[in-house]
Symmetry: C2
Subunit: 112 residues, 2 copies
């Protein structure tokens, strides 16, 4: 099992966070809040599909709501595999950020 890319991780976390409201456009908005950057639509839908194809997410289509323009949404939910992948990436992350030396260390480059 390969380690998740950052985009994949953030999308899976958004699905987790949004619970029953995890669908494309909502995920996109949540991501832009998390990162402070606006993403294109494709930047969300394309990886969402990939994550589903690989078994990290499952999906189903809702009935349309009665909001202005509200039409049927494709909701996503984490699978067990998705949760496992998140745990793995978190563990790698914590590992990588631990036991770092003081940032101010200093040495003289051995110039040629």
């Amino acid at each position: 099992m390969n380690i998740l890319s950052r985009m994949e991780e953030l999308i899976l976390l958004s699905v987790w966070k949004l619970q029953t409201e995890a669908y494309g456009l909502e995920i996109r908005q949540h991501l832009s809040e998390l990162t402070g950057q606006d993403l294109s639509v494709g930047a969300v839908y394309v990886p969402l599909k990939r994550l589903k194809k690989r078994g990290y997410l499952e999906a189903w289509d809702s009935e349309p709501t009665d909001e202005r323009g509200g039409r049927s949404k494709r909701f996503y939910k984490l699978t067990q595999k998705g949760i496992g992948a998140l745990q793995q990436v978190k563990s790698v992350q914590e590992n990588a950020w631990s036991n770092l030396p003081d940032i101010g260390f200093d040495w003289t480059p051995a110039k040629s």
Copy 2:
């Protein structure tokens, strides 16, 4: 400033961690310890160069050592910009992982 990819983050963290021993092959080995995966040589050298070109790292060449086959190494060091990018990615990361609801939440998919 765009958010770092995971590979970029892990490489910058390796440079930080390895201090005076931050050069290609050593970084590669450190990464394989961190992630549990073996990386190809190109998987490290290619992003290292990009990170330098973008100003996240600076580099200089050492004199050869006296080890068997030991030849000159290209050492890397974090720049201020590199440190800043790491701080940014850490903050996004912590944000994304906080305030997550219990994973066991449950609901009935509105089947069509």
